[in-house]
Amino acid sequence: MEYVLQTHNLKKRYGNYRALDGLDMNVPRGSIYGLIGKNGAGKTTLIRLICGLQSPTEGDYELYGINSRDKGIVRARRRMGAVVEVPSIYQDMTATENLEEQYRILGMPDFEGIPELLKLVGLEGTGKKKAGNFSLGMRQRLGIAVALSGSPDFLVLDEPINGMDPQGIVEIRELILKLNREQGITLLISSHILDELARIATYFGFVDKGQMVKEISAAQLEAACRKCIHLKVSDTGILGRVLDEMGLEYAILSEKEGEIYGKIGVTELTLKLSAQGCEVESMQERDESLENYYINLVGGGSHE
């Protein structure tokens, strides 16, 4: 597998505090990598290191195969874009002016791509409105547009939907998927909104106390998370007998509720229950959530 970013025993200390404590991470090319961890787990520190805002105390990382100790890392960084914590935009400039400024920083020969970029992030109609007057979602999208200015193939987003309204969250989600699917951009996203990450990420990295607890693909996660069917019936005694006959794993939760693990034939089950006089009131498919998986993995406790 080809990796865009790999970290090796990465450590960062602030005085006696270990923000990163030997973190190993592998971000596969073309993936949407969801970085999950509590407050203070080291997510933002990791992003600051790979963006060159800070230097590791120990360990190193590779960006497109170029080691962080190599002088070429500065050039390798030109292939990435990032929004770290809050969008880096001039508040007293319009969206277009902000992008023009970034184009100059990158040494782009002209501003041709700006209208397309604004359209991509849905800010084409903002005209002379200053970024300082933008909503949080608009600022976030402008920050992403600035990060996309150099046509990077690796985009790092630190808490991209933090504090956003539901509409803004949907817009950012769609933008991320579009960038990944249509432009083939690899994304590293740190977020504490696990449900949102579960919808888009193709890889997950669980960070705790500055260390990588587990890296797992979405497919592996799905397999690891047990699916179940939650049923509400008139008699769970009959339900138990029928499920025993069918050889299915299940759990009776109350007199009227039960859960069946694994795949079932809904029609077959309903007919068998009906034949024995048991009515099915409701049936829902449920996944063990990413949140549950995460809590089991890092041992619970408070998390965002």
């Binding site: 500065v74 007293d92 400024e101």
Partner: protein
């Protein structure tokens, strides 16, 4: 500096320049400096007409000397502080620019802005002064030297403030620190200047005669407050090292130690820039 470094500084500088053109702070200061430039010869002309006093154009040209430190502090802290407050400095690092290039381009744009503001002010006074006050008494070389020393003092201030701002990620704190440093340098320079101005001999206490309020005496004695020897040499160097010290000398048109002033200016600028670069390279940015 290799080709890539040159291109990187060029890109960063061009981005700064575009921002400078849109900066209200810069245009506000330009208006202010131009206003002072117009006011100085006008006031002198008015006083010459009304009270019959005489002024030289050179004396008005030195008006900026005590302003330089303050407007440079305000501009540098505001302009570069925004890079941190709006997070734009992160974009530059992520875009693959080295910290050295970011620092040097930031210093460069502030030097350019300061030079433009100062030249605007001085050129207005120079032109209007010839017309409203009197032709320059100094020769062209002297005036050129005055311009050079003035710009070097500005360079000094800019290097010090750039160092402070680039090492401080809080814009408000940067503005406050720059202003406090400016005031501190002002006080230090005036103290040293006052110490150096203490006369070596004073009238003897027994036979002092006052004429028009001035103490006269046939006998003189050594002033115990006089700063002499090695201490005097150190104080003189200190006065030239502190930018405000040079400002005071410029305000009084004292250009006799110009070589020492130039050396001090260049050394201080280089020192502040090297120290700033060194610390900025190691600084953890948020």
């Amino acid at each position: 500096m290799n080709k890539n470094s040159y291109a990187s500084i060029n890109n960063l500088f061009s981005a700064h320049l575009a921002r400078l053109k849109k900066s209200r702070m810069f245009w506000g200061l330009a208006l202010l400096m131009a206003g002072f430039g117009v006011a100085a010869p006008l006031i002198a002309h008015f006083e010459m007409q009304k009270y019959g006093v005489s002024y030289s154009s050179e004396s008005r040209l030195a008006w900026h000397a005590l302003l330089t430190g303050y407007f440079t502090a305000a501009f540098t802290a505001w302009f570069l502080g925004t890079e941190y407050s709006d997070g734009a400095i992160r974009n530059k690092l992520i875009a693959g620019h080295t910290r050295r290039n970011i620092y040097l381009s930031s210093l460069g744009i502030c030097v350019l802005a300061h030079t433009a503001l100062l030249l605007l002010h001085m050129v207005i006074i120079s032109v209007m002064g010839q017309w409203l006050i009197a032709p320059f008494e100094l020769k062209a070389g002297g005036i050129a030297l005055f311009y050079l020393l003035s710009l070097l003092v500005g360079l000094n201030f800019t290097a010090i403030y750039t160092m402070i701002v680039m090492l401080n990620q809080n814009k408000s704190a940067s503005v406050t620190i720059c202003m406090l440093v400016c005031f501190g340098l002002f006080v230090a320079a005036f103290y040293i200047y006052a110490m150096l101005a203490v006369p070596e001999m004073i009238p003897s206490g027994d036979n002092i005669v006052y004429v028009d309020g001035e103490a006269l005496s046939q006998e003189l004695e050594l002033n115990p407050r006089y700063v002499g020897g090695v201490r005097r040499i150190v104080y003189k160097w200190l006065l030239d090292i502190i930018p405000f010290g040079q400002s005071i000398k410029l305000a009084e048109m004292k250009l006799e130690d110009s070589l020492r002033m130039i050396i001090c200016s260049l050394c201080l600028t280089a020192g502040a820039t090297l120290a700033g670069l060194c610390c900025f390279q190691r600084k953890d940015l948020k």
